[in-house]
């Protein structure tokens, strides 16, 4: 076991643990946000740079600080390491900058995006972003395409986290999509009209942190916050059959994996469970899915939220930051 201190909280973790995993073990506000890392997919992480942290002390053996901010998702903890996340202004500034970079080419079409309400990018920019934009140029644009009869690809919204690529590599037999081209012309594609229909391919919808990959069997049926997420299971020949069903009344609108507090599913589920089993009788309902009270999804169901009685006049709200 080794000792690592993150934002003044010390934890004991096994050797080979990343800074991020150690932070998740501690929990709470000190956990760096992640957009590309996915603990259940080998090789993910390092790309989005939202999880950057400052290492002020390398280790007991070599106490020198690290010269640059490091990606906590892919940097191993060392014994005696001291890390700053929320305590470091440098980290906070860098995170703001990363959010800005992720948003400059994002269409910000949240009002018509199926991911709204459960979007990691939305949450990230809500917490770390800046009101207003300094970006005045044209945004990158792609056509919306159906990559198979179950999945829709909105490349405009993609942040190139590569999670779906790793998912297909690791869960299915023959990945037939990937990243084409490079730089800001890079796009997720199936290269000349291949379609993604492999068993387990539906999981790319769950791992997508934004609304780039959406479920065609659910698109525009309902906003997620009007639905009630219930844990359910069935005897499935392909997967563990443990899912979350999203109900309205007695109707199942969609089926997803069970996402934890870090937005990662507990188990990947098969395409049959996800796309075919929309009848309430297909499932044994276990009870409501616990969703963090901070999420808009929980607003209608689990908490008696008091409506704010006074709405502040516009100018008393925080000034939009002008840069």
């Amino acid at each position: 076991m080794i000792k690592i201190t993150i934002d003044n909280i010390t934890a004991e973790v096994p050797e080979g643990t990343t800074i991020l995993q150690a932070a998740r073990q501690i929990g709470g506000d000190i956990v760096p946000p992640t957009m590309c890392y996915y603990s259940k997919l080998k090789g993910t992480g390092g790309k989005c740079r939202t999880c950057l942290v400052k290492v002020v002390k390398g280790s007991e053996a070599d106490p020198r600080p690290m010269p640059k901010l490091v990606a906590s998702c892919s940097t191993l903890a060392q014994d005696g390491m001291v890390v700053e996340n929320t305590l470091s202004q440098e980290v906070m500034d860098a995170r703001k900058a990363i959010v800005e970079f992720l948003l400059i080419n994002h269409p910000l079409d949240c009002p018509v995006c199926d991911q709204a309400g459960e979007c990691d990018l939305q949450n990230l920019s809500y917490k770390h972003g800046v009101e207003g934009t300094r970006y005045e140029e044209d945004r990158r644009e792609f056509d919306v395409i159906d990559i198979g009869d179950k999945i829709k690809l909105h490349m405009n919204r993609c942040i190139l986290c590569y999670r779906c690529v790793y998912t297909m590599n690791q869960l299915t037999d023959n990945r037939n999509h990937g990243v084409l081209f490079r730089g800001d012309a890079a796009e997720i594609g199936t290269y000349i009209k291949n379609t993604i229909e492999q068993e387990f391919s539906g999981n790319i919808i769950d791992v997508c942190p934004v609304g780039a990959l959406t479920d065609r069997t659910f698109r525009f049926k309902s906003r997620v916050w009007f639905l009630k997420p219930m844990d359910a299971h069935r005897d499935c020949p392909h997967c563990a059959g443990k899912v979350t069903v999203w109900e309205f009344g007695n109707q199942i609108y969609r089926v997803t994996g069970r996402k934890n507090e870090f937005g990662e599913v507990d188990d990947f589920i098969c395409n049959e469970c996800r796309f075919e089993k929309k009848d309430i009788h297909d499932w044994v309902i276990e009870g409501p899915r616990k969703i963090t009270p901070r999420s808009v999804i929980s607003q209608n169901h689990y908490r008696n939220t008091k409506k704010q009685s006074i709405i502040l006049p516009l100018d008393e709200k925080t000034e939009p930051q002008q840069q």
Binding site: K47, A94, A97, I98, I104, G178, V179, R182, D184, A186
Partner: protein, 445 residues
Amino acid sequence: MGRKILLEHIDVPGINTFDVYRAHGGYKAAEKALKEMSAAQVVEEVKSAGLRGRGGAGFPTGMKWSFLDKKSANPTYLVCNADESEPGTFKDRYLMEHIPHMLIEGVIISSYAIGCNTAYIYVRGEFKYIIGILNKAIREAHANGFLGNNIQGSGFNLEIHVHSGAGAYICGEETALLESLEGKRGNPRLKPPFPAVKGLYESPTVVNNVETLATVVGIINIGAATYAGIGVGKSSGTKLISACGNINKPGVYEIELGIPVEEFIYSDVYCGGIKDGKKLKAVIPGGSSVPILPQNLVCKTANGDVRLMSYESLADGGFQTGSMLGSGGFIVLDEDACVVRHTYTLARFYRHESCGQCSPCREGTGWMEKVLYRIENGEGRMHDIDLLVNISKNIEGNTICPLGDAAAWPVAAAIRHFRHEFEFHVKHPEIVKNIDHGSLEKFNI
């Protein structure tokens, strides 16, 4: 004129063939290393010669070799980085085109030193004709017993394979190169693990630049002590500099490290002065990725010392008033050159070459290019200049590989030293739109 180690016989007709190269002392170093020296001795020799990587970062080569994971059960690989694509850098191409056997010999000696039996030369896709030249040289070396099994009776075996890139600058970054060599998309890897531990096919790997490996030949020939005696301080030996821009004699020159920058620009042995008798405006001393130096910091450092062509002297003053020797792509701008246009051109390059893997580089390079395009075309606003500085700062140090830095530094340095030119572009859109790209006089309004 300084001592020549790499280009001594470059003008000999037929030096690109085995026989002529051999007749001029070629493959003597390989014979010496393989027959008279142990592998450890070769490494020691390269270490004490003080050879530093010629690919850009200037990392001590002998030290890099000794980092190899010797406990690994996998074979060790040597990969020669011949992806040379940095704007302004064209020295490796010259070497491979004219004296390919020197690279082959360097690969043989270096492979022997690190215990590698399969070496790869990864050649930039656009250098198609060079692949032919190298393959011919390899065939000749084979036929003469310098490649294959039991080379010259030494018991050492080596095969060299030439691999063509597909035209991506990013595949010059060593881990992207390895990905590409493995047949994957050329995205840089996260480090650690470094190639010395897990490189090609998860095996210990050394990646060295063409010039670095070719220089090993000279070191074995003349001895480490003699080699270390050339140059200044930690910048030992000779270096190829590819000079271009507004000078009288653009071309590839071999210099002894440590000659004054002024001599390099104005001596008839080298660049021969600024073209058409114009004045010097700025120099980018080490390839497009390094900061630009304005005229007052080219020949003298900020402290008033004479600026030398060496790793240390060019870096003197840090990024505030210095730059880097980098890969030796020496770009000279005269008084009529427009720094804004130049910076825009570089930004365009980096945007096009970013692999797109990490967000600061993917988004930031495109953003900077678009803003610079506006400024260059008379559509800029004053706050765009500080915006550019801020974007470059947000990219710098936050990316997976150094391409992000390489894209950020030139923009930051250009604005640091030539802010007035950017402001001129904003203030006088009608001039920058209609006239050529502006001269020093025009900026003095």
